[in-house]
Amino acid sequence: MNGSSVATLGHQIARTSARVWRSDLVSDFLHAPVAVLSFAIVLLYVLAAAFPSVFAPHSVTDLASLDFSDAFRPPAWIAGGDIRFVFGADDQGRDILSAIIYGLRISLFVSFAAVAISLLIGVVFGLLAGFFGGWIDALIMRAADVQLTFPAMLVAVLIDGVVRAAFGERVHDQFAVWILIMAIALSGWVQYARTVRGLTLVESGRDYVQAARLSGRPTSFVLFRHILPNVATPVFVVATIQLAVAIILEATLSFVGLGIPPTQPSLGTLIRVGNGYLLSGEWWLAIFPGLALVILVLAVNLLGDWLRDALNPRLK
């Protein structure tokens, strides 16, 4: 995909957003309390992840500031707790709340990046398959079918494993975040491709597309300027749902030790560390990062559900 078509795509997204803003979507939104609440939660998470130093009471990136006498301090409201550590401290004396906020940073970055990449791949493949049909369609869609038979988790583990085997442990750890992003992205493109292909099939037969083709417009122009804007809306719905999937996938991979190295906090690694202390009574190490994850995923899913309903004219 070349630079100009990326720019075109960006341009299209901007135009679509502007149209969305002018539509009655906004007023619908303001009348749906669940959607407003979910949106507020997601916004809070994103802000906290973007500006951790503002939201987190402690810096967890500076190991030298930790004090072992704070290790396993319980949450503030339990005997032995300390108001400096609202949700308690972990095995290193690190504030759990701060660790969650810094952990969110990696989790959200990985998830957003993975969704963006899989959206890009999926949309392009979907457009190509739907527009050209024939063997291109067969090739792409059969590949998609094959991938669909594997759970996303398995595909991600496979990619992670191949990189480890091919480039070695050191390279893997150096680029762990990017490998994780690619692993999640490559496991999710099928959803977009299938959605876009179906819609493209419908759109390509329409008169305006025929007209554009007959008037000698280049194929890429027809694809990205004419068809893409008309298939974009459902893609946003898929992307929102997929975001929740990506967040869970990141947490799962990091939990089993395949994602982010254990020394960097992400929600998954925090839960992984905390898991070792569930039976011994230090429940706050796993419960609070787990809660943070549940609330985030729930909010994203509710938002996605609402968006799907709101954008579906048949439900109006």
Binding site: A64, F68, D91, E169, P262, T263, L279, S280
Partner: protein, 531 residues
């Protein structure tokens, strides 16, 4: 619809019944001991991996000439008796009518073959048999000549389980499996010993099943019919499996769960001070750090840097928080009750961040430096947590440490290759004697002589080598003990290794299981009972 459903149901019941038949045919009172551990035995080859988990499991299948009884005193096993003919010559009389599991008879040739096999380059037991010359005198008599008088020969032979020569020849297993090269061999998955249990099935990293041999030559107190050995890498899963009754015995417990388990009415806890010391070693050979950045130098070669790390540790905090008191702090690499142990060396310097920083500045690293610490995450109790704690503590004296934690199957080949800048290690002297650690972790590497085989630091000090060799050859026990103690003082003062603590070994088992617990963490199945 109903008929179809009923037919299906009947079919299901029938087939379940058929499947259940072979299981029901087994004796109803069969006692199966399900053992859980954090990682699997790396091989079924008795000479390929000197790790206690592997030694323990294989000791149920294979037997050495001499063993230890319940009081840890040396006792006859495949050798009925032994005599020292002259200072360098020992004669062993083998037990008659002992059969291997495949029906072959135990002969002197098997003993000779096994000792020679243990001397191969791929063996990890060369230190126990270096220089020995075994000879079959007759079918049931073996003579072993040592290169020098060796008061520990009998102790060493406890670690050499006897293999069948014919079986090994037939299956192309003349040398031990080469785990460094990740070799796959027949002996990785198959075993043929003289012991009370035979290998029934082996699924690496998943499950290993052993069954009692009806025709076993010996008598034993243990009454287990079947042993299921299951590695469960995740600490909480392993503990939960014990609590829920899926395991009967867990031999490596995370410290934080011991208190919880002790409260459970179904669980019994056994503890003992283990002979295992946990410490850290450094690359003491290369001139530049292989994993890290210290301006082109290798800071660990400077004693001031090692002492700074020694000062940067808070042993008491590690023992209190990570180990929950189930360890005793120490500054040396030898545990109590070993020959040559000196309690005075246990006391390390108190943590002093300023003094540590000053030492680093004196050594030319006022801003510290960065390096990678290699750690196993399924070998020692809470190994990864201990390493994480170390990373935090060292960051406070200005060292930027990247933690590289990995399963033992990856960790050990890495340190065997001396492919590390700093690493975690846990070590116990196999015959309650300080010499073995000096020989294998301090002496200059010489694989054929079994010297320096665990000297992953690649340290070489000819002066020290000579002194260790002198202590090794000393036959006067009192004098030898003194010499060993003096050597430990030297290496502790020189901070060749930075030591943390001696582990407390904890077994947790269901109430109906009884087993002795040994300070070398050798679970001897011959004493395990269930009721």
């Amino acid at each position: 619809m109903t008929n179809v459903y009923l037919r299906g149901l009947a079919g299901a019941i029938l087939s379940t019944g058929l499947l259940a038949l072979p299981i029901m045919a087994a004796p109803a009172m069969a006692k199966t001991l399900r053992i859980g551990a954090q990682a699997d035995a790396g091989t079924m080859d008795p000479q390929a991996q000197n790790i206690q988990t592997t030694i323990t499991l294989l000791s149920m299948i294979y037997e050495p000439l001499i063993t230890r009884d319940k009081t840890l005193a040396k006792a006859p096993m495949l050798a009925e008796s032994w005599t020292q003919v002259d200072p360098n010559t020992w004669r062993f009389k083998l037990r008659p009518n002992v059969k291997f599991h495949d029906g072959g008879s135990l002969t002197a040739e098997d003993v000779v073959f096994t000792i020679k096999r243990a001397q191969s380059a791929t063996s990890q037991f060369t230190a126990y048999v270096a220089g020995l010359q075994p000879k079959a005198i007759d079918d049931l008599t073996v003579e072993i000549v040592t290169p020098k008088p060796d008061p520990l020969l009998i102790d060493k032979l406890i670690y050499i389980p006897i293999m069948d020569k014919e079986w090994s020849e037939k299956n192309n297993a003349l040398t031990p499996q080469n785990l460094k090269e990740k070799q796959e061999s027949f002996t990785a998955l198959n075993a043929n010993g003289t012991g009370p249990y035979k290998l029934t099935s082996r699924q690496p990293d998943s499950k290993t099943v052993l069954n009692r041999v009806p025709a076993y030559w010996g008598k034993m107190d243990g009454d287990i019919d079947q042993v299921d050995f299951t590695p469960v890498a995740s600490d909480p899963t392993r503990v939960a499996a014990l609590l829920s009754g899926e395991l009967d015995l867990v031999i490596d417990l995370p410290s934080q769960d011991v208190a919880r388990l002790a409260q459970s009415p179904d669980i019994k806890i056994e503890k003992i001070d283990e002979f295992r010391t946990i410490f850290f070693g450094f690359d003491l050979k290369n001139d530049t750090l292989k994993y890290g950045d210290a301006g082109g130098k290798n800071p660990f070669k400077d004693v001031r840097v090692r002492q700074a790390i020694n000062l940067g540790l808070d042993r008491d905090a590690v023992v209190r928080t990570v180990m929950r008191g189930l360890a005793s702090p120490t500054a040396q690499i030898l545990a109590p009750n070993n020959v040559g142990y000196d309690a005075a060396l246990d006391k390390g310097p108190a943590r002093n961040v300023e003094a540590a920083k000053k030492l680093l500045a004196d050594a030319g690293y006022p801003q510290g430096f960065s390096f990678t610490l290699d750690c196993p995450n399924d070998r020692y109790v809470n190994d990864e947590q201990v390493c994480k704690t170390l990373v935090t503590m060292l960051s406070q004296i200005g060292l930027k440490v990247t933690l590289n934690s990995m399963p033992r199957a990856k960790f050990f080949p890495k340190v065997w290759d001396r492919d590390t800048s700093m690493y975690m290690m846990g070590f116990n002297s196999p015959f309650f004697d300080g010499m073995y650690a000096l020989e294998t972790t301090v002496m200059t590497r010489n694989d054929a002589k079994g010297e320096g085989i665990y000297n992953y630091a690649n340290y070489s000090n000819p002066q020290l080598d000579t002194e260790i060799a002198a202590a090794r050859d000393e036959l006067d026990t009192a004098k030898r003990t003194k010499m060993i103690a003096a050597l430990y003082k030297k290496i502790t003062d020189d901070a060749l290794y930075v030591s943390l603590y001696n582990q407390v070994l904890v077994y947790a088992m269901r109430k109906n299981v009884s087993t002795p617990i040994r300070p070398d963490n050798w679970l001897d199945i011959r004493w395990v009972t269930m009721n």
